[in-house]
């Protein structure tokens, strides 16, 4: 599951290859309105290779919209997005640049999805497929990798998250925590440049949160580049390198996780952190 061994087919995508810290993603001036409600008012986001960025903020602050924009699930009205190329010899060697002010169609959204994969709050596993079928669906159907290879990868990933024996189970037979772990490896199996998490534990019973956070923490240690929308401030402090605090569609404050969560400079951040204090 480590980015270096799982991504054999995409050399230089992640991990300790001497390129750690290179910018992977850079978004500038993202804006988005739903009707008259402006949810993003000019957001900049930068993520470097191997970095974990946590997006925090009250509901309605726009953090989920930012995350979904990175995966083409929402299309901002304006702004630009650049995702670095992955180096020579890889299918994604070239950098991807999208100007949301211009025409953004299927092709741009598809290109975004080639580079990132989302883990959803409500898992969104395919209920009519078994666990292993869920995990190999993207690699086999979209990336056209040989089925035997995809299955072998999936089995290795399942073993890593302790679900090898659930290989042929249907999602309804799993607990929420187990389903979310499958959700995570379904994303991992695609070997994306960027892993995106949309409140990955907020639909879980409290006693199941730990097992999912544990997996995400391992991924962070292995050097995956991740953007996480979360309400778990203690967790954000443990795994995130950087935190962005959003409110009302703007970035209120950003900086190293320890700094932002322990000693926020802005009053709005202070209040938010204080309200969730029992978490920290």
């Amino acid at each position: 599951m480590s980015p270096t061994d799982a991504s054999g087919s995409r050399p230089g995508v992640h991990g300790p290859d001497g390129r750690h810290g290179v910018p992977v993603l850079s978004a500038r001036g993202l804006t988005k309105s739903f009707g008259t409600n402006q949810v993003l008012r000019g957001i900049d986001v930068d993520v470097r290779r191997g970095q974990v960025l946590a997006l925090i903020g009250p509901s309605g602050s726009g953090k989920t919209t930012v995350l979904r924009s990175l995966n083409g699930l929402e299309t901002p009205d304006a702004g630009t997005l650049t995702i670095a190329g992955t180096g020579e010899g890889s299918p994604l060697a070239e950098a991807l640049e999208i100007d949301f002010g211009g025409k953004v169609g299927k092709r741009e959204r598809a290109a975004l999805r080639d580079r990132s994969a989302m883990v959803f709050q409500h898992y969104n596993l395919f209920p009519h497929m078994t666990v292993v079928q869920n995990v190999i669906e993207g690699p086999v159907q979209v990336q056209k990798r040989p089925r035997s290879e995809a299955v072998a990868d999936a089995e290795r990933l399942l073993e890593r998250v302790g679900l090898a024996d659930k290989r042929n189970a249907y999602p309804f037979e799993l607990s929420g925590g187990q389903q979310q772990r499958v959700g995570i490896i379904r994303a991992l199996a695609l070997k994306p440049q960027l892993l995106l998490f949309d409140e990955p534990t907020s639909a879980l019973d409290p006693e199941l949160v730990g097992e999912v956070l544990g997996v995400i923490k391992e991924l962070a240690e292995e050097g995956w580049t991740m953007v996480i929308v979360t309400h778990e401030l203690a967790f954000a402090r443990q795994v995130a390198d950087e935190v962005i605090f959003m409110d009302g569609g703007v970035v209120v404050e950003r900086g190293p996780a320890a700094e932002i969560l322990r000693a926020p400079r802005q009053e709005r951040t202070r209040q938010f952190v204080k309200r969730l204090q029992h978490d920290v």
Partner: protein, 221 residues
């Protein structure tokens, strides 16, 4: 009134033959074509293009708002006035397919809408195109939801094909009518015809249960 058992036994042959060579193939062909048409109409109806969805809505409205017998007669007896002369079988298949297309389109549309939006998003996030997501993720789940109502349509169709006797298609009911007219045993023949229809529908109902069980294997009970 003594029952003419010889007539009863000797009539089953032509009735079953009518079912096997008329009613059943007519039902199967019309249902298969009708389902394809219904899928297309459902997708048009769900399309964001107003012209597409308008055309689909109009079609469904006409089919559901007019009697099947009238549809059948327009195609078989009406079209020749416009220079289009069709034989009984093609006329019947066209009429029944169009009819199934209208009813099943609404069923399929509702079934597609019943699949949560998160399933589309999950398909997209693993890199699938809209068509891939539709065929691999959405329709298999919609199929489960639509089996009971589509089975109703299918079973109704078996019985509705008896109307084809009125445009000279040789099927179960037409054979019953002919023997009845000849023997004057109307009650016996029509009850026999009813019995054969009922047996076909019983078989279909049990097929439906098997299919439902199979498709239910991935949901909690």
């Amino acid at each position: 009134m003594p029952l003419d058992w010889d007539l009863v036994w000797s009539s089953f042959g032509p009735l079953v033959t009518g079912a096997v060579t008329g009613t059943i193939p007519l039902t199967l062909a019309s249902f298969a074509l009708g389902l394809l048409l219904a899928l297309l109409v459902a997708l048009l109806r769900l399309s964001r293009n107003r012209i597409f969805s308008g055309v689909a809505r109009f079609y469904v409205s006409v089919i559901r708002g007019t009697p099947l017998l009238v549809q059948l007669f327009v195609i078989f007896y009406g079209l020749p006035n416009l220079g289009v002369k069709l034989d009984p079988w093609p006329s019947a298949i066209i009429a029944f397919s169009l009819n199934v297309g209208g009813y099943a389109a609404e069923i399929i549309r509702a079934a597609i809408l019943s699949v949560p939006k998160g399933q589309w998003e999950a398909g997209h996030t693993i890199g699938m195109s809209g068509a891939q997501t539709l065929f691999r993720i959405i329709l298999p789940q919609a199929a489960r939801v639509s089996v009971p109502p589509l089975s109703n349509t299918f079973i109704s169709l078996v019985k509705d094909t008896s109307l084809a006797s009125l445009i000279l298609v040789t099927e179960l009911f037409r054979n019953a009518q002919q023997i009845a007219a000849f023997s004057q045993e109307f009650m016996v023949l029509y009850l026999q015809a009813a019995l054969v229809y009922w047996v076909i529908c019983l078989a279909l109902s049990s097929g439906q249960s098997v299919l439902e069980k199979r498709l239910d294997r991935y949901v909690a009970h």
